[in-house]
Symmetry: C2
Subunit: 345 residues, 2 copies
């Protein structure tokens, strides 16, 4: 069918193994024959068959990327194309390919991981989410299959390679910013508490609040889904309180969008009535009304770094577990405003 290494060998008047060596750019081949072989390859339009090579070397030059199951509405978050872009960029450079999985539910995701691992389809896996007691993580750990997490593992932190931001500190900074500009009643809206990222961001918020001796009633912490309805309930509840917050730390830009919308509906506006801060610096956080004060977590870099780590790890299984913390930067925009006087309690 297609042109094989043998055809090239024949045409160039060498042995197949020589051709193979030329492909690998083996230094022990004379420049002269290399040239001849390369010419033959070009003339014949030769392209190596990946499957054959993979079979021979027992690897696949591919990495698997696991997204959260699409049952999670979270998948609609532009976070994902953006990490993917980072991963893809590094993968392209190193000539790795990308396998992605979007299972419809957790079960399907797990099946896909199994297929990737057991079938030798990929050399390693990047998990794009991290939540507690994840069977996928357990499976991978047991199999001793190379993987890295974008985010922070909830268990065995020291044995797993991961790339993350300092979400605790970022969240603390954000909260402190609100405090600095005069807010005294600050609430937190996060996603599922199963996700480590939510936990970290919550803890950062909490730490800042406590250090500043501000009130931290239970009602000031809500965990909503990304869905509009969830966000709505959360906001309505929050602003029905005797002492509604004047500042909010929201765990994700997309959620913030929902919050703004709900606020409008109940007759409050941002930043006049309430200051909003959030996370991710998605492209759209610049074009919302108002543009959001948000933490730029450098999604693209998260992707690049995770790919780099994974490939290192796939190449050398003994590579120790490492942790990479990508720096963040707070983008100050118009969703926050300083307040001087506090409503009377």
């Amino acid at each position: 069918m297609a042109v094989t290494i043998k055809d090239v060998a024949k045409k160039a008047g060498v042995a197949p193994s020589t051709v193979s060596r030329v492909i690998a750019d083996n230094p022990r081949i004379s420049l002269d024959t290399k040239k001849r072989v390369r010419k033959a390859m070009k003339d014949l339009g030769y392209h190596p068959n990946i499957n054959a090579r993979n079979l021979a070397v027992r690897s696949s030059q591919a990495i698997g990327v696991i997204m959260p199951s699409s049952a999670d509405k979270a998948l609609q978050n532009p976070f994902f194309p953006e990490v993917l872009r980072g991963i893809g960029s590094f993968a392209h450079e190193t000539e790795y390919s990308l396998y992605v999985s979007t299972g419809g539910n957790d079960q399907e995701v797990f099946e896909e991981v199994q297929r990737m691992v057991n079938g030798n389809r990929v050399d390693g896996i990047i998990l794009l989410y991290s939540r507690i007691a994840d069977p996928v993580q357990q499976f991978l750990t047991e199999k001793k299959f190379p993987f890295v997490i974008v985010g922070k593992p909830s268990e065995q932190e020291s044995e797993i390679t991961y790339v993350d931001n300092n979400n605790f500190k970022a969240s603390k900074d954000l909260t402190n910013h609100l405090i600095d500009i005069g807010h005294r009643h600050i609430a937190f809206i996060g996603g599922s508490t199963e996700l480590t990222v939510t936990v970290d961001r919550f803890n950062g918020y909490k730490s800042a609040i406590e250090e500043a001796d501000l009130p931290l009633p239970n009602e000031y912490t809500v965990h909503a889904e990304f869905l509009k309805s969830g966000g709505r309930d959360a906001v309505e509840q929050l602003f029905a309180l005797d002492q509604p917050p004047t500042g909010l730390v929201v765990a994700d830009d997309l959620m913030t969008l929902g919050v703004i919308n709900t606020l409008e509906e109940i007759g409050l506006s941002c930043p006049q009535d309430v200051s909003l801060t959030s996370f991710n610096n998605l492209y759209l956080s610049e074009i919302t009304t108002p543009p959001l004060t948000t933490v730029d977590i450098q999604i693209y870099q998260l992707g690049v770094q995770s790919a780099r780590c994974l490939i290192e790890k796939a190449k050398d299984k003994d590579e120790p577990a490492k942790r990479i913390i990508v720096p963040y930067e707070i983008k100050f925009r118009q969703s926050t405003r300083s307040i001087t006087s506090e409503p009377v309690e």
Copy 2:
């Protein structure tokens, strides 16, 4: 290393070829031996090596998904995770895997396609964008490699399988809606004119305007990038006209978001001063302020259908080119309002 077909064969007391037949569920194998073999597979924890199989059958049970190069900011559009989800869903059912490419620029995208095709990594390719004179399309056509386009090809329409919406009609409907509720000055904001989707949506708009005998000055058509800056210029220009539009047809929800933002900045608001309609019904179009009147193009379905077509085509290369039109539905929300009197000209 891993457990192979031979190990299973030995354990079950049969020949490797028999095991292979069991895997393929060949009807000529007695139920008895099938059971025995399956038990052996289970006991040993056997999983077929995909590479070996692919090599033997010259296929890969994988499909390639090509996104636009990430130079296009468009990639941040939640459209992509959503199609991917559709594709993934069908792929999962049929046990195909997904290879994705996100090249950093057009050149890289092209390289990735070549790698996929030449290296036998995938059985077919889904293109997630369609623009005029695309070298990737040409390459695939020449190679007679199975592929389908999400969107409409700009050339050789009848020879290429694609799945699309009736963007012309959807756009016309949208425009007519604005006309119905009293708008007489309606402008169009689209993306790159290289993209066929932009062209179709523009033509639908144009057709409605012409049929209603409304003004269609050149200044009423602007093509902006998704980037904020681009959108801003467009809007400023539009509303500096002697006769600014009161209604807008915008080719994408994300762009609309930028438009709303810019409007606010120049002191106009939606829908009081201008009515906005757009496309895609991204999740976020519900949670913006105001929620958008937009065309639900059923992104997920576009994904599912494209995967279905591709797989049919990959299985039978003689499958004729087909066209699948996914129905759309206009979601009427709060970004439009009817006007009775027209500003004096």
